[in-house]
């Protein structure tokens, strides 16, 4: 592939002007495998998400839980299915096509989840996996894992957590385990992923991102991010059929800079524009069905500077198509990221093999130290 033009651009990480090739978009999507992937992912550009706290109750209490930070935990529950049905209809009317049912524990209100599914067929549920969600609710189910069972007992006060999650969701095509790397559970990930792979379960990765004012010891350091990066790459190479991730995911989520610094968060909390995109359509509803634009993002009480959350990245990195269409490696890395996002979040979507097998820096930034 030949570069179409040669331009000079100013990179944000370097005040000096650097010479940089610019590729035509038509050249970037010319290779058949790339075009095929582009056509595959762009079919889902219609997805417009919002998120919903379903209940103010949970059957466990975890150190660093987003739900029980801030004031939303004190919101009253709206338990009337008719009110939820009406909300879903009005959401559809304003263009929402995808729902994320989260906090505190949606599996405790299956009737409300069912109403959401009946009205909005695409979505995901974030759950601790201890109570099985009925099969009729055909959303992706994200099951949180925070280390091995010993660690889970220590920070989540739940015994045999992984075993119980696997018993509930083994062979369930809806289920994706989400392993959250904290500063202290990095070495446990291989053991957990091995168990999941042995049970034919799919797993993706998250990075603990501290809530505002968090004073616990789970937050990452540059060194723990580096260790996480190494373990993620090993697991991705070792379990390509079970680990839903890419090298660009690893880079984007373990970089010393957070997602907002790297990509510019497009959720309303950091984005004042109401004209287009997430700034226009995204809402985060509390259990009483109210919402507040100033707090609206997928993890509302996260410290934005520390945010490397998998759900945030799924929207923030994906939205930055234009800036990734600069050269073949950067664009194909972005395609790998979007392919991963869709496999994690959309029922029936099958992840392809990653196009890029090495870390590529985000546009305008360097790779973090290896």
């Amino acid at each position: 592939m030949e570069p179409a033009t040669q331009t000079v651009s100013l990179k944000p990480n370097d005040a000096s002007r650097q010479t940089e090739r610019t590729y035509k978009f038509s050249d970037l999507i010319a290779p058949p495998a790339v075009r095929e992937r582009w056509e595959k992912v762009r079919k889902y550009f219609f997805l417009r998400e919002s998120t919903y706290d379903m209940s103010n109750r949970c059957n466990i209490r975890c150190n660093g839980c987003y739900y029980y930070e801030g004031e939303k935990q004190f919101t009253q529950e709206r338990r009337d299915p008719a009110a939820w049905r009406s909300l879903m209809r009005s959401e559809k009317a304003r263009g929402i096509t995808y729902v994320v049912l989260a906090g505190a524990e949606p599996s405790l209100v299956p009737d409300l989840c069912q109403v959401c599914f009946d009205e909005m067929p695409l979505g995901a549920i974030a759950t601790n996996g201890l109570k099985r969600i009925p099969d009729a609710i055909n959303y992706k189910i994200h099951i949180s894992v925070w280390g091995n069972d010993e660690t889970s007992f220590k920070i989540r006060n739940a015994r045999n957590m992984l075993q119980r999650q696997v018993e509930n969701y083994k062979s369930d095509p809806r289920a994706v385990w989400v392993y959250t790397f904290t500063r202290h559970n990095i070495a446990e990930a291989p053991q957990v992923v091995r168990t999941l792979a042995r049970n034919q379960c799919k797993v993706t990765f998250n990075i603990f991102s501290a809530p505002v004012g968090y004073a616990g010891d789970l937050s990452h350091t540059a060194k723990s991010l580096q260790s996480t990066r190494k373990v993620m790459a090993e697991l991705l190479d070792q379990y390509p059929e079970h680990v839903l991730y890419s090298h660009y995911n690893i880079m984007a989520h373990t970089h010393t800079q957070g997602l907002h610094a790297l990509f510019g968060c497009s959720y309303p909390r950091q984005n004042p524009s109401t004209d287009i995109g997430l700034g226009r359509s995204f809402r985060q509803y509390r259990t009483d069905l109210s919402w507040d634009r100033s707090a609206a993002c997928c993890v509302p009480d996260t410290d934005c500077v520390d945010c490397r959350h998998y759900a945030a990245g799924s929207a923030v990195v994906t939205a930055r198509l234009y800036r990734h269409a600069v050269d073949p490696e950067t664009f194909q890395s972005w395609l790998d990221y979007v392919d991963t996002y869709l496999a994690v979040w959309v029922m029936e979507y099958q992840k392809g093999a990653n196009l890029i097998s090495k870390p590529v820096p985000p546009p305008g930034f360097d790779l973090p130290p290896s």
Binding site: S26, D275, I276, G277, R280, T318, A319, L321, A325
Partner: protein
């Protein structure tokens, strides 16, 4: 300038119809003042796709920060025309 902008408007309409697979509309019949978000139903990913095709055709970068200003085809055409003239 108006004639140049008019020809860019028609080309943008052609690209939008083709890239976004819009139905029941022709380039000539595409109202250039129609709000792309509210009335056509396109969103940021659609606009980014169109912006990349326009970048190929006119060698003009449409800055991501400028998307919110580009709410109809006429504004996009004037934006491109302004950048080409600069």
């Amino acid at each position: 300038m108006p004639r140049e902008v008019d020809s860019i408007i028609v080309r943008i309409a052609e690209i939008m119809i083709s890239e976004l697979k819009l139905e029941d509309v022709t380039p000539e019949g595409f109202n250039p003042d129609m709000d792309l978000v509210d009335e056509v139903g396109i969103d940021s990913m659609d606009l980014a796709t169109v912006a990349l095709v326009l970048r190929d055709e006119y060698s003009v970068r449409i800055d991501e920060d400028d998307y919110p200003k580009l709410t109809n085809i006429r504004l996009i055409a004037e934006y491109l025309h302004g950048k080409m003239a600069a």
